[in-house]
């Protein structure tokens, strides 16, 4: 590896900038740099500080007077505490269950429907398309949804979090749009060779669509992991709680006088220490941050905006 000298970097820049464009002014570059740095720091600083505090000892936290910004020591006792304490690990398992089962169900339903809808001229093609698109325009509303979910006996079941959210018309249209871009000659030739629709979907369409399925899978998975309010609404038992509820109980509920609507605080003899609270934040944060970089490179204009105009 040779070091990149400023001169080389400059040449490279000039090569990427079109010849007709005037060279950037110094104040302009400075302003741009400051603005973009501020935007990036606004996202990174809170995450940094939370992670550092979660790994800090009581002493470091006391010295800092609260949130720690500069790491002083490395102490994992907060994590040991939350993973040995039943309620946080139980909540993690509940959330993992909802996320894994939910995402699987969602992907199966979405891919099947998207494939069916990606062939114009198939049976009931237009009415079915309208059936899905109308769900964009008209939302059912909170009260009737609650009535239906409870009437089906789903209260106090994690299925109450999964089934109502299982099919998202937007995601469906994203996948459909992608499937429609696959040349039909490819599918027709497979048909001539005697492949059935299931075979075509599994052997030809899906292998070509890994990127879009990954992106939509991430959308679903993050949606399930982030479920908070439906859990408050439908789950009464403390052992059914999901991670977002625990986070709310540990941090946000402590800030305000307990009112109606906020779930009852967890049975604590003493309030959790700041390091423990921050460790819970990290536990909620990490899966999202960990999965995201693998998917992020697929956020090209095609995948996301392609579906906006159906």
């Amino acid at each position: 590896m040779t070091a990149v000298t400023p001169a080389m970097r400059d040449r490279r820049r000039r090569a990427q900038r079109p010849a007709w464009e005037e060279p950037p002014t110094v104040p302009g570059r400075l302003a741009k740099g400051v603005l973009l740095t501020a935007v990036v720091l606004a996202v990174l600083i809170p995450m940094w500080s939370v992670i550092v505090t979660s790994f800090s000892s009581k002493q470091a936290i006391a010295d800092a007077g609260g949130m720690v910004f500069l790491p002083r020591d490395f102490d994992i006792s907060a994590y040991v505490l939350i993973f040995t304490r039943g309620e946080v690990s139980a909540a993690i398992w509940n959330s993992v269950f909802v996320t894994v089962v939910g995402t699987t169900l969602s992907l199966v339903c979405t891919v099947l429907a998207a494939y069916g809808l990606s062939r114009p001229g198939s049976l009931w093609h237009r009415p079915l398309l309208m059936f899905f698109l109308i769900t964009f325009l008209i939302g059912p509303g909170l009260v009737p949804t609650y009535v239906v979910v409870t009437s089906l006996g789903l209260k106090d079941s994690h299925w109450a979090l999964i089934l109502p959210a299982a099919v998202n018309a937007f995601n469906l249209m994203v996948v459909r749009q992608f499937f429609m871009g696959i040349p039909s000659e490819l599918l027709d030739s497979a048909r001539i060779d005697g492949a059935g629709e299931w075979m075509i979907l599994a052997r030809i369409v899906l292998p070509l669509s890994k990127a879009v399925v990954a992106v939509v899978g991430l959308f679903y998975a993050v949606g399930y992991w982030n479920i908070y309010f439906n859990a408050v609404l439908y789950l009464n038992d403390a052992e059914d709680r999901v991670v977002q509820q625990v986070l709310q109980a540990y941090i946000i509920a402590g800030q305000s006088p307990a009112g109606i609507g906020s779930p009852p605080a967890l049975g604590f003899s003493a309030p959790p220490s700041l390091a423990v609270k921050m460790a819970v934040v990290v536990v909620v944060l990490i899966p999202v941050v960990a999965v995201y970089p693998f998917i992020q490179r697929h956020f090209t204009k095609g995948v996301i905006t392609g579906a906006l105009k159906g």
């Binding site: 990427q16 500080s49 007077g65 059936f131």
Partner: protein, 293 residues
């Protein structure tokens, strides 16, 4: 093949949509074994629930708060993703641009609980900012519980969460602009600001109009979890919006009829707004949301 998805939407989307008829009924929970049966068996009472709703001063408070917040966000925060997209687009190094995009998209995937937590730990009474102020002998202030600045707080939270994500669609539109236009304008002596005004912004116009129409359709919804999480801390006066009103009235006091009426009111106004905005946009020669395919 669409069958599983159709079934799920029928049960969890279309059936509840039909369930909105409870808004026109005198809901009696003892008239059936399940809530659905009770709705079917309850007696029709026409628009009585709506009359009750419109006579409730708390409903008007919630409506006023909602409109205040959505208008404020539309005027002051709608242009920011556009500005950020133009700024990002001007970063020449694709590696650096990719890094910034990775970072600013990330908060979009955080739950509201997490976003509020971050704000609390940074700006709250015992957060990082208050610590720094206290260390420097300044008086800390608590923005998290102040009803007067609540509108700024919720808007900043929405901005932090979604400004990066909002740039995606504008960045796509920016790359679709014909680069020859810039070259031609530059050789005619237009400087960078004139090029921005005469090429970039007109090039973004269709997308801006599209998003404005969609925003208008959402004029009565400001997001639900964000408000339910902070309503207790700042008080109902500032933080009650239509969605939280529906929850407290409809579900907590079990007044299904009036609660559904409020939800239906919101949905119908939203639908009317989006259709009207779409028609107006068409009249001015824009494409609109619904494209005949």
């Amino acid at each position: 093949m669409a069958l599983p998805a159709v079934l799920l939407l029928l049960v969890f989307h279309y059936l509840p949509t039909l369930g909105n008829v409870v808004a026109f009924k005198d809901y009696d929970q003892w008239s059936g074994d399940t809530a659905i049966e009770a709705i079917v068996n309850s007696r029709w009472i026409g628009f009585t629930n709506f009359a009750e709703l419109f006579a409730d001063s708390q409903f008007w408070d919630a409506l006023r708060n909602t409109l205040l917040i959505t208008t404020f966000q539309l005027v002051f925060f709608f242009p920011l993703p556009i500005a950020l997209a133009i700024l990002l687009n001007s970063v020449v190094s694709s590696r650096l641009r990719g890094f910034i995009q990775t970072v600013v998209y990330l908060p979009h995937f955080f739950s509201w609980v997490l976003v509020v937590t971050f704000f609390l730990q940074m700006l709250g009474g015992s957060g990082l900012l208050a610590q720094v102020l206290r260390d420097n002998g300044l008086q800390p202030w608590d923005v998290m519980t102040n009803p007067d600045t609540f509108i700024l707080l919720v808007s900043s939270e929405s901005l932090w969460k979604d400004v990066g994500w909002g740039t995606i669609i504008f960045l796509a539109a920016l790359t679709a602009i014909d680069q020859n236009l810039y070259e031609a304008a530059a050789s005619d002596g237009a400087n960078r600001w004139r090029r921005l005004w005469h090429i970039t912004l007109p090039g973004l116009r269709p997308v801006v109009v599209l998003l404005l129409i969609l925003q208008l359709g959402n004029a009565l919804s400001v997001g639900f979890e964000q408000f339910i999480l902070q309503r207790d801390a700042v008080g109902r006066q500032a933080a009650e919006v239509l969605d939280t009103y529906v929850y407290y009235l409809g579900l907590l006091t079990q007044d299904y009829g009036v609660g559904a009426a409020a939800g239906l009111f919101k949905a119908v106004i939203g639908l009317i707004l989006i259709l009207v905005a779409n028609r107006v946009a068409r009249r001015f020669g824009e494409e609109g949301v619904f494209v005949r395919s």
